[in-house]
């Protein structure tokens, strides 16, 4: 019981911090912290599946999160028939051709006997395949990008409800993870790290440069939302009346209402995933995973297929990150590939998992809420500290200006210090694995 009490206490402290934000700053920023904290918690559950359960070192979280964001554009974006007739099908055909080329090359390398003939056949298939692919791909892309380039110029989405995009984001991320896992798992652990780091950069590069897909750095804005718009609420007399009844002005009430709506949705997803992760952890499957993590050789000797299990959990964990990514893009209402930064989307999630307690799902959730709170609050805190430090200096001192300007960069420093301190003095995290 003691342990439950301690854990509840820890969650209560984080909750208290957020409530304090509500009283001292504003309720809008407090709920904003909760919303992003919930999304971060889902990402942390995904990473915890891979690292905590199976000991897989995935530093490509950013890529899966971005794929989830892409899914929102592809599923919920406006359906535009003219782009499909212009070149959408051509692009898909080209992509299929590309995939067929790679598959053929892989088949050759597996089926043919080793030797010069195999090398030549593989190269021939790859070169011919690449030329054909570019020949089909380029004109179709040009055709799609030519349609209304100022506002669209991409293939658009399916126009489905945005909530459907969340599982779709998970599927997209899972597909990518399967491809990566198939090649990089089974190699050494550091190699998986480098491979995932690389694939994340590549996914971002694709999102930034393939304008036909999601407009690249021109961003997709105005994605549909699962909750009403503030302006509609403000124009709704019934809502205004209810707000007035609670003593709130309509603008404030509508923003809070919308944000709380998101919170409820995110909370539902988080609870479902948390429940599933807990069940998985307690099941024979979860015990097997931990057995593999703790001693691969012994697990293999017991007849467990280590590579297959690793692939399985790698795909699952990445899918969870993809869902979180889709939720984040939905919350933002826009996809901005330029803002994906590995420090924020990969390494920060790692800090969350390790601080919270790797191997423990509740730990991951707690770590995510706490670290996200700090990530948001360190900046104003840093500025406040800097103002205190520089208060004795002359008004026009260059050092004073520099210190005040640099306070914003305190975040990374603080996160690094927190990570190192936890690793050193409490390597099992705030809520250790049982």
């Amino acid at each position: 019981m003691n342990e439950t009490l301690k854990n509840t206490g820890l969650f209560a402290i984080v909750g208290g911090l957020i409530i304090a934000t509500g009283f001292m700053q504003s309720w809008n920023s407090a709920i904003l912290i909760i919303n992003m904290g919930l999304i971060s918690a889902i990402m942390a559950i995904g990473v915890n599946l891979q690292w905590g359960f199976a000991g897989l070192f995935n530093v490509g979280v950013m890529g899966f999160v971005a794929l989830g964001g892409l899914a929102v554009v592809l599923v919920a974006g406006d359906f535009t028939p003219e782009t499909w007739s212009a070149g959408g099908f051509g692009i898909i055909l080209a992509l299929l051709l590309g995939a067929a080329t790679v598959t053929a090359a892989v088949m050759i390398s597996k089926k043919m006997a080793k030797g010069r003939a195999r090398t030549i056949a593989m190269l021939a298939v790859l070169v011919v395949g690449f030329v054909v692919y570019r020949a089909v791909f380029d004109p179709n892309v040009a055709a799609v990008e030519a349609i209304n380039p100022a506002a669209a110029g991409n293939i658009g989405g399916l126009g489905l409800p945005v909530l459907l995009a969340w599982p779709a984001g998970g599927l997209l991320a899972a597909g990518a993870a399967w491809l990566i896992g198939k090649t990089a798992l089974g190699l050494r652990s550091d190699y998986l790290a480098i491979a995932t780091l690389g694939i994340a950069e590549i996914i971002i590069a694709v999102l930034k440069n393939e304008d036909w897909l999601a407009r690249g750095v021109k961003n997709v804005i105005g994605l549909p939302r699962p909750v009403p718009y503030e302006i509609d609420l403000q124009n709704d007399p019934a809502f205004v009346e209810r707000a007035a009844g609670m003593g709130l002005d309509p603008v404030m009430a509508s923003t809070l209402y919308v944000k709380l709506g998101y919170s409820v949705l995110f909370m539902v997803v988080l609870l479902v995933l948390l429940w599933m992760a807990q069940m998985a952890l307690k099941s024979p499957w979860g015990r097997m995973m931990r057995a593999i993590r703790d001693n691969e050789v012994a697990a293999e000797a017991m007849g467990k297929d280590v590579t297959r299990r690793h692939l399985q959990i790698f795909v699952l964990g990445s899918a969870v990150c993809g869902i979180a990514g889709a939720m984040m893009t939905t919350l933002d209402g826009q996809l901005t590939p330029g803002t994906y930064n590995p420090l924020r989307f990969t390494f920060l999630v790692w800090v969350m998992v390790i601080v919270g307690g790797s191997g423990n799902n509740f730990g991951a959730v707690l770590g995510a809420m706490l670290i996200w709170f700090l990530w948001v609050q360190v900046e104003p805190l840093g500025i406040w500290v800097m103002e205190l430090v520089t208060s004795g200096m002359a008004e026009d001192s260059a050092l004073r200006d520099h210190l005040l300007d640099s306070a914003a960069h305190m975040r990374l420093l603080t996160m690094g210090v927190i990570l190192l301190l936890v690793l050193r003095f409490s390597p099992r995290g705030l809520i250790p694995e049982k």
Partner: protein, 336 residues
């Protein structure tokens, strides 16, 4: 004549930039590979160590420029480089004492050290941004070109020009000096030999009385020197921006792994393999093809295989191919 023109165009746009970039990558990969060989973990903080070294150098360069010290036609940064190296050495020794030493004594698993290096990366990244800000900084001065395109054209009468930037020349010269010094150190000196022995077989080395802490200290000192030099050379050649150094991590790791982790010779080879593939695959070959092919065969497009934005993808794909077909790298590296 057409052949010469094609050759010059090729040198100007592919060979010269790739050699300079390859030298920078090789220096970075040497640092990664040394850490891997001796301390046995992949150091994620290496890119930010490079950024730190470059930052110290930039600050000293600005100070030198402000009091009127210059290095004639060469960039002042070369004079400031020793200070950058010294600063980086102090930083990594401090990090090792405060952070890594604890885990070494605990004999922690390599993957824990990797996560620790992630924390160090955050701190160094924050430190650099805190001191110099996240923006672009220029600190190159002196003569811009060893030979400019126009001079080359008037000299040879060819249609294509060949430009070699001073920074590219310096990069190659400095890299060659560093590599020669490093290999001399590793192969000829007592400390270098003990480092190699420690890397090959830790237990045997300990039995024969090699002091591990001394080996580790020298490794960090050398890595700091290499990282600061690589960082400054890259910054001189392109420009100094903290985030770019973080992104260099991928091609640097790719170089080290392609060459064979833990193998210094492999790191150099890997650096050039990655650099040449990045540049050749993202180069628009139209210009060269124009001279080499008859008019009827001339390509209509740019004849560019991939747009330059995908250069990360190139190093990644090469990395994957090597990992799949030759997991220990081109030169035999460690497989832990």
């Amino acid at each position: 004549m057409d052949f010469l023109n094609a050759l010059v165009a090729l040198s100007n746009f592919v060979l010269v930039p790739a050699i300079a970039y390859g030298s920078q990558l090789a220096l970075g990969a040497l640092g990664v590979t040394l850490i891997y060989g001796i301390l046995r973990f992949s150091n994620f903080a290496h890119g930010d160590t490079m950024a730190f070294g470059a930052m110290v150098t930039v600050l000293v360069t600005w100070w030198m420029q402000s009091i009127g010290i210059s290095f004639g036609p060469l960039p002042t940064a070369l004079l400031a480089l020793p200070f950058g190296i010294l600063g980086t050495m102090l930083l990594v020794l401090f990090t090792d004492r405060v952070v890594y030493k604890f885990y070494r004594e605990q004999k922690a698993k390599p993957v824990i050290l990797v996560i620790v290096s992630m924390g160090v990366m955050f701190i160094m990244n924050g430190l650099v941004r805190f001191v110099i800000g996240p923006g672009d900084q220029r600190f190159a001065d002196g003569e811009r070109f060893i030979i400019s395109a126009r001079d080359f054209k008037t000299m040879t009468g060819l249609k294509e020009g060949l430009a070699i930037k001073t920074t590219q020349g310096i990069t190659v010269v400095v890299a060659v000096i560093c590599v020669i010094a490093l290999f001399w150190f590793l192969n000829r000196t007592r400390t270098g030999k003990s480092m190699r022995a420690y890397s090959d077989n830790e237990d045997l080395a300990l039995l024969s009385g090699i002091n591990p802490e001394r080996v580790v200290m020298y490794t960090w000192l050398i890595v700091a020197a290499l990282a600061a030099t690589a960082g400054v050379l890259y910054g001189l050649d392109k420009s100094f921006k903290p985030f770019v150094y973080f992104q260099l991590l991928l091609p640097i790791f790719a170089s080290a792994i392609v060459g064979g982790l833990g193998n210094p010779l492999g790191a150099i080879a890997g650096g050039f393999v990655i650099a040449f593939s990045e540049v050749t695959i993202t180069y628009a070959w139209k210009k060269v093809a124009k001279y080499m092919l008859p008019e009827s065969l001339e390509p209509s497009g740019l004849a560019q295989l991939l747009s330059t934005d995908y250069k990360f993808a190139v190093s990644f794909v090469i990395l994957l191919i090597v990992l799949l077909f030759k997991p220990t790298g081109l030169f035999k590296g460690k497989a832990v």
